[in-house]
């Protein structure tokens, strides 16, 4: 078996068992014996592993959500650690501001999405729960972010004035609406794939794998502006 595939399989197994220390040991040994570079580990081991785990969970109903959450945390931690060893400029696909809408204190979905985006080389700034539209926009401007992600678990925070809709109006008010894209997600959106339209957002996603695809797409659209 080739080295990459071997490390991928071993790392995936360790992560799947939520064994952080074993996962870290495998990455360390790949670096130590020089078989893979940090870049290769990021792109060919860490990122595909977490995407496969989520695929197993969503499509094949093999993994549980708690496991998914822990794995996404392991994955994000490994990414941060490897990123210390590479040229961040090359390995950074862009900055994403992520938070939970004002009046909403649920952070699990957002955290998973954040960890998975991070493991896919976006620099994620998680600004927590109960975030006002102004804070979303201030943080995006300060960090030169091109994407704002707003999570909500309840319908009134998902489509209310102080949620993503408020973020979109605040961007508009500051003349930034075409520069910064807004993406939404969370339980209510999963019940109605049209719901995101009521918020004025540019996209939505039902899970973290899709979130990576949507953010990739919006970044491309952005690049063409």
């Amino acid at each position: 078996m080739d080295t990459k595939a071997d490390y991928y399989n071993r790392y995936f197994a360790a992560m799947y068992d939520t064994d952080r220390d074993a996962a870290m040991g495998i990455i360390q040994s790949a670096l130590d014996d020089g078989s893979l570079t940090a870049e290769e580990l990021l792109i060919d081991v860490i990122s595909p592993s977490i995407l496969k785990l989520e695929h197993d969970m969503v499509q094949e109903k093999k993994a549980t959500l708690a496991q998914h959450y822990i794995c996404s945390k392991i994955s994000s931690e490994m990414t941060d650690w490897l990123l210390e060893q590479v040229d961040r400029k090359i390995m950074n696909k862009g900055v994403v501001i992520l938070g939970t809408a004002f009046g909403d204190f649920h952070g699990l979905g957002k955290k998973i999405v954040g960890c998975v985006l991070n493991s896919n080389l976006y620099r994620v700034i998680d600004i927590g729960v109960n975030v006002s539209p102004e804070t979303f926009v201030d943080t995006a401007v300060k960090n030169n972010a091109r994407i704002i992600g707003v999570s909500s678990m309840m319908i009134h925070t998902a489509i209310g004035e102080e949620g993503a809709r408020g973020v979109c109006s605040e961007l508009e008010r500051r003349g930034l609406r075409d520069k910064i894209k807004v993406i939404v997600g969370g339980a209510p959106f999963r019940f109605d794939d049209q719901l995101y339209k009521q918020t004025g957002a540019d996209g939505w996603s039902p899970d973290a794998i899709e979130a990576v695809k949507v953010v990739d797409r919006l970044m491309k659209e952005k690049a063409n502006v």
Partner: protein, 343 residues
Amino acid sequence: MSSARQRFGDLMSGQLPDRVPVVCNLLEQGAKEMGMSIKDYYSKGENVAYGQIRLIEKYGHDVAWAFHYTASDAEMLGSKKSIFPDDGPPNVGHLIIKSIEDIHKLKIDSRIFNTKSHQELLKTIDILKTELGKEYPILSAVVGSYSMPAILMGIEKWMELLFTPQAGEAVNLLYEKCSQFVNLRCQALLEAGVDMIIYNNPLASAAFITADEFKKKALPWIHKDVQTTGTAGMVYFNGGGEINPMLPALVEHSGFGAFYINPMDDIREAKQIVNGKGLVAAPINDIKLLRFNEEEVKNEVERIISEGKEGGGFIFGTLVMPYGIPEHTIRSMINVAKQAGQY
């Protein structure tokens, strides 16, 4: 025409009722009826009772809710703050468990019944029993012990604890204490006179676990939760996640006699699995009701009823109706359901 109570009675004794019963989970909407903020509404049990009475008079559905909100379970265990929005359900604002030590310290005893949350709920139950009890079944709800830690320590901390080596004992202890709470609470609700308890177990749904894991880890706690009361009057509720994958184990081993599935669960499949060994309640996807026009409402309600009605044992329902659904939409949903549900 039967009363709502007879309708459910028929269903439970295996007979065909005059029509499919309609459960409509209107909660905060009662505050609107009473002309109050959601916070004021929930501050007194009588507000909720009269809110429910007005809702039934207005819309004509078949059950009255003697239930306030999920966060009140946490209040009964010492949570000092719930957050009341203007246009949605209250939320837990103070998590009472911050460490493993707090799990050890948590005491479950009859003091939970001295709390304002419980006392106000008793008032709601009492008024509803007196005013509507002859005609309507009175419903309440509990969160199953398998899901309860989420409102005591926050779901992220809970998931982390589940995967902390050496925390197994604390995890079991918290389940155990939650289950003691559920036993006490169900018993008190039934003694106070509620007819049915909606047993809400979202962390045991397919949104979180596999069917295998359900059998191994969730089912034993479901058994423990109903040790005191038994399962008469208990309805197993999906809590927002899909439960068809769990139904075979639930039907076979839980002793529950009614299963309230998710809008994403296939109704025909659920009826096939339950196979007459209990009732199936199937809800409309009520988040879509925020935007559906009359035609869309009609089609969706008729679809649900036509998939579930045959042979009886079927209830039409909703999940937790969002506050913003227009009144005319609620009306037409209920009217179409009554029409389409005739036997």
